[in-house]
């Protein structure tokens, strides 16, 4: 029964990782911008939801969280990354800028919302015994359902709409995109809007389950990066699957190893992929 319990908890955690990682992968895949401030997007969305929840407005809070995530993502694209790229800034310049913004956001959250732990008090996160020694909270089903619905919707958007196809083309050949009359700037903004919006549901569910603190974004970024590499750089479904896999791995591992190693297992998976399949699950091997 312990294995089943750990598997179920791993699926719940993995669903949240998948949502966050998919947002990061979408942005990175389409724009090749290493958006390190994606963790800050997550933290902003979580705290905005928390503010509305405490004011007794959960549904407007969910919408406000998504809106805040999108506005922040677009702001980063328009006012941070685009000026750097205009001056042909290097990958490292982009990374340092994003890292700096993430630190500023962390400190602003601490100043505005307080530096302690914060969470949403809801019966949805309270587990009940569904089988002998197996506890499950209603939020498990919500996390799984939200992840499935969003991935199906996003996949449909990317494959069946003009803008979605344009996003995929942006990653492969921006110059050719312009020849077809599409604006790479607009598509880049779309990628940031969609990718940032994906972080909001995960942030809301995290506020209900593990809770938030001003530094929550760093952990989110670690998982997102790991999932993007394991899934295959540029592959949305790869990042989502890898996020789910990392969540399950770090939970199920406790059947076999000490609790100390839970997070280490995620990174062992990462190392294994880097060594044995550097292109990731769905990545395409590059030849030089």
């Amino acid at each position: 029964m312990l294995f089943l319990q750990l598997l179920l908890q791993g699926l719940q955690t993995g669903a949240l990782y998948a949502l966050t990682a998919a947002g990061f992968a979408l942005i990175f895949g389409a724009t090749r911008i290493f958006h390190f401030a994606h963790g800050a997007t997550f933290a902003i969305a979580g705290y905005v939801f928390l503010y509305f929840w405490n004011a007794g407005q959960p549904w407007p809070g969910a919408l406000a969280a998504i809106a805040a995530a999108v506005v922040f993502g677009l702001g980063m694209e328009r006012f941070v990354y685009r000026p750097i790229q205009r001056h042909e800034g290097s990958f490292f310049t982009v990374f340092v800028a994003a890292f700096g913004v993430a630190v500023v956001v962390q400190n602003l959250i601490g100043m505005i919302a307080g530096r302690g732990f914060a969470s949403v008090d809801t019966p949805l996160s309270m587990a009940n015994e569904v089988l002998p020694d197996v506890f499950l909270a209603p939020i498990f089903w919500i996390a799984i359902a939200v992840a499935i619905v969003l991935f199906v919707a996003l996949s449909a958007f990317l494959t069946r709409t003009h803008a979605g196809v344009g996003l995929r083309a942006l990653a492969q050949n921006p110059d050719l995109l312009r020849a077809y009359g599409l604006s790479s700037n607009r598509l880049s903004m779309l990628a940031f809007a969609l990718g940032s919006a994906m972080a909001a549901p995960a942030a809301i569910l995290t506020a209900m389950t593990t809770g938030l603190n001003e530094a929550v974004g760093h952990h989110v970024m670690l998982i997102s990066m790991a999932a993007t590499i394991v899934g295959g750089v540029g592959s949305l479904r790869g990042a989502a699957l890898a996020g789910l896999m990392l969540g399950v791995a770090e939970s199920v591992a406790l059947q076999f190893v000490d609790t100390q190693w839970a997070e280490g297992v995620s990174f062992l998976v990462l190392f294994a992929f880097i060594i044995f399949r550097p292109s990731g699950i769905f990545g395409v091997a590059q030849t030089r």
């Binding site: 908890q9 732990f117 929550v216």
Partner: protein, 375 residues
């Protein structure tokens, strides 16, 4: 070149050189630098604010009472509760800021900075960490908080008395967590209890559902939480959300406002040092009244400890000023060992040869968002 020009230059040169020619003139009005090595960002930043609030109030009181000839000022360095950052901060405080006295918290940070304090002969005072091996780290490292072995010595008989004999421990993988593990492992069997499981978690861990599953398997009577900051709050929520219904217990780190305000923390039992803010000494009542007036909330253990740490400096420096002796680490230590007993928040405090303050321990329970002493 005319005479008046030479005179003006000479005057200007003399004025500029005066502070260097007579450093005592400059030093006479320079403030005493109270360095702080607290986490001011990251998941443990809440402690930094609590620690600083207590220290700042003590400085205000010392100034109001004209205790010292020179003012005191705080020079803050952010450790993020990490030992590496602590050593960097301590090195800067002693070498660049010429700190007279340094306040430090967290076991790992304290252990890291103690050798620097020792080499620089600068007093470092801990008011927040409880690792038992913080005692006697250096003649220049003092504790104004009872350490974990004193908390567990008082707590284990209480747990046995409540028939909470099978204890599972969830502990952070750092010197504090390891110290609590060692104490429970040796002390519980002596009292008729049993450590039925010990579950180490990394400092960065945030998911505690799977840990709760492992804890549940050990069938404990109570779960002892040995972590701090945002993580201990996450552990409490993780345990309660995932079906752990037995009492959650722990040590003084649980006394922070975000933990006491959590609905999931209702009924959590923990030890801390004993403070009676309503009765007690004039120093204690003044601290409690002014703290509430300044910060809008009742003071907690950490506020009082760091108030005491700064008040201790003011009392020692006052003695040294009266002697005409320099306020430095060696003289502060000499005076501490000579005077020994000080009027601090909580009553008369006595220091031993190692620089550890003795204090009584009380057992508290979180009830309705408040900390209520129960034993």
């Amino acid at each position: 070149m005319s005479g008046p020009q030479i005179a003006r230059r000479a005057l200007l040169g003399t004025a500029l050189a005066a502070p260097f020619a007579h450093p005592s003139l400059a030093q006479a009005t320079d403030p005493y630098v109270i360095g702080t090595l607290f986490p001011m960002s990251g998941p443990n930043a809440e402690y930094g604010t609590l620690f600083t609030n207590g220290a700042a109030l003590a400085i205000e009181h010392a100034r109001a009472d004209n205790m010292l000839r020179r003012p005191m000022r705080i020079q803050a360095e952010d450790t993020q509760a990490l030992p590496q950052q602590g050593v960097i901060g301590m090195t800067k405080l002693v070498n660049v800021d010429k700190a007279h006295y340094v306040l430090v918290g967290f076991t790992a940070v304290s252990k890291a900075v103690a050798p620097v304090a020792d080499r620089a002969k600068t007093i470092a005072v801990n008011g927040g960490a409880v690792g038992p091996d913080l005692s006697g780290l250096s003649p220049y490292f003092w504790n104004v908080i009872p350490l974990a072995h004193l908390e567990t010595q008082a707590f284990i008989p209480f747990l046995m008395g409540r028939n909470l004999k099978r204890i599972a421990l969830v502990y952070v993988d750092d010197p504090l967590g390891d110290a609590i593990l060692g104490l429970l492992r040796t002390e519980l069997p002596k009292a008729g209890g049993e450590l039925v499981g010990s579950f180490s978690v990394p400092r960065t861990a945030q998911q505690f559902g799977p840990v709760a599953a492992r804890v549940r398997q050990s069938r404990p009577d109570a779960v002892y939480i040995a972590s701090f900051g945002a993580q201990q709050a996450q552990i409490i929520k993780g345990m309660r959300d995932n079906g752990i219904r037995v009492p959650l217990v722990g040590y003084s780190a649980l006394s922070i406002p975000t933990v006491t305000a959590m609905p999931e923390a209702e009924g959590v039992i923990f030890t801390s040092q004993k403070f009676d803010y309503t009765g007690g000494s004039e120093v204690t009542r003044r601290f409690a009244t002014d703290f509430k007036a300044k910060y809008g909330s009742d003071p907690g253990t950490y506020n009082a400890n760091y108030y005491n740490a700064v008040r201790l400096f003011a009392l020692l420096a006052k003695e040294l000023e009266a002697e005409g002796a320099e306020v430095n680490g060696e003289n502060l230590r000499r005076t501490l060992l000579r005077v020994r007993e000080f009027d601090l928040v909580g009553g008369k405090a006595t220091f031993d040869d190692k620089g550890d303050m003795s204090a009584e321990i009380q057992v508290n329970e979180i009830r309705g968002g408040r900390v209520v002493p129960i034993a």
